[in-house]
Symmetry: C2
């Protein structure tokens, strides 16, 4: 991309500016012969993939049938992820339900985690794991501007925002990411109440709430629900809820039956080609590649693990 | 916001960069005492609102009950909007249906517009109205970087990308925006087949397809549908389709019965305060205002017209 004189030249809020004012943050430089992202993924070598540790895979079975698979991110929210594992191992969510679906925002589930006895191993007031140290994290910079963070990219195949000045990195609220519901106080979310993003990325939640993972299969079972009619999309009656049959860690499921997935490594050359392809969509349909992409429009490729 | 030395310093795709590399596109400068966007809208004076011309309001009634209201944008895609009006006036979509719902992407409807006789007044091969002249358009710059366009903002209360260098502006593919389905050739979309965005903004479609408006009421009737199981989210069987009862322009509905809405003027002082509030969410829940926002997270406020 090429930068234009005055890339800093965004006007203060409210100041009137001639639309012809000759400033811009950057200028996209579309790549006309970019690779087809689907083909890049299809042809990615075995070593470009990493298996999802069964300890990091939450298996949610719905009473109506179907399942939602959630990959956990212990390196970003270790205490909350440990809580999630403890909740799962204690059967905390068996018979829990989705009780809130708000259009263009979130689907939320649980069975209450405040003022009730919690299972052994659950920390009631975890630290607010809204960010982690940038140090020790190998980030692949996306290479395009972001509307929220100084820098964005991918680390360990997760979408991240980061700030080299403050030395911090954090997961971003992209579609299908899973976060910890909390009350007003930052330390009131245990991980017992979770939500998945089902609309345009609400990035304003970044650095305000702990993200613990992402839905890698079955997001449609959450996003296609009727929207709740109460404030914030809560369902009016229990009969509208979407009940779970049981929720387990893949590691607690016999090996023969457990789902096994892998994700494309964000430090692989294939991933770089994938990003370039996502930022420069071509083929017969697209007439003008964008020459840019936002971090939430680079969904990390996931596949069933080859036998 | 403050810019850091080397705001241009995004790495070329694929180049490995130390995460601690001290560059960034910009640095958000959160406003701690920002206005509450909901309160700003509530208190906006009457002159901050513009009525939606009934000629620019498409009323879609579903057979199952409920309606979807779509505001049209004639100043951005005049020929396609004229086509849409002609289709509506000729009852083209009565008994049409939603036949495609793809998760995190689009809901699409129509009844075919290729190789069939079209109603009087419909231009079969409209020009590709993917952008318009920036000249003559009063844009309010958003004031934050965008991952796709040199500049973004709002014009006539529509979200736009624009490029002062090329002198062009275009509508952006934000949630609930409505576009024209087309075949591979740019001039194959008449406006008879339309889609609404129901997921994270697919901004890569900007400048590749004509946007003709946005859903201002009833988006949940499209977004909450079961996802189609065929490729691209097409429904497998006609029984899965969501049939329309009829589709009319509000101007063709008797005044007493016609819906009447208004939108917040993007050139109003209230809108500037609203943007600042959206970019710096505060109150009791948010612990750290973002200090930035993307153009698709600034939904233009719409309300029923006060009697």
């Amino acid at each position: 991309m090429a930068l234009i004189a005055g890339c800093a030249g965004a006007p203060p809020q409210g100041e009137e500016v001639e639309p012809s004012a000759r400033y811009a943050f950057w200028r996209p430089a579309p790549v006309v012969e970019a690779p087809d992202p689907a083909k890049v993924v299809e042809e990615a070598p075995a070593e470009a993939w990493r298996a999802i540790d069964p300890q990091n895979l939450l298996v949610v079975e719905l009473k109506e049938g179907g399942r939602v698979l959630i990959e956990l991110a212990p390196d970003f929210a270790p205490v909350h992820v440990a809580n999630v594992r403890a909740f799962a191992r204690n059967g905390w969510w068996n018979n829990a339900a989705v009780y809130r679906v708000q259009d263009n925002y979130v689907a939320q589930w649980g069975n209450g985690d405040a003022e009730v006895p919690l299972p052994a191993g659950v920390v009631r007031r975890p630290p607010h794991e809204y960010h982690r140290a940038l140090e020790g994290l190998a980030v692949r910079p996306l290479g395009y501007p972001d509307s929220y963070a100084p820098m964005v990219g991918h680390a360990q195949s997760w979408p991240v925002g980061y700030d080299p000045e403050e030395g911090r990195a954090w997961l971003t609220h992209c579609y299908a990411m899973v976060g910890v519901g909390r009350d007003l106080a930052p330390d009131t979310g245990t991980g017992g109440e979770l939500y998945a993003i089902i609309g345009h990325a609400p990035r304003h939640l970044d650095l305000n709430i702990a993200l613990i993972g992402r839905v890698i299969e079955g997001i449609g079972l959450l996003s296609a629900r009727p929207r709740g009619t109460e404030a914030l999309g809560f369902y009016k009656e229990a009969k509208d809820h979407v009940p779970f049959a049981r929720v387990r860690l893949a590691s607690d499921i016999p090996e023969g039956e457990r789902p096994s997935y892998e994700v494309l490594r964000s430090d692989s050359e294939a991933f770089s080609r994938y990003v370039t392809g996502r930022a420069n969509r071509g083929g017969d349909f697209f007439k003008r590649p964008a020459g840019g992409v936002d971090v939430c429009n680079v969904p990390v490729p996931v596949r069933k693990r080859p036998a």
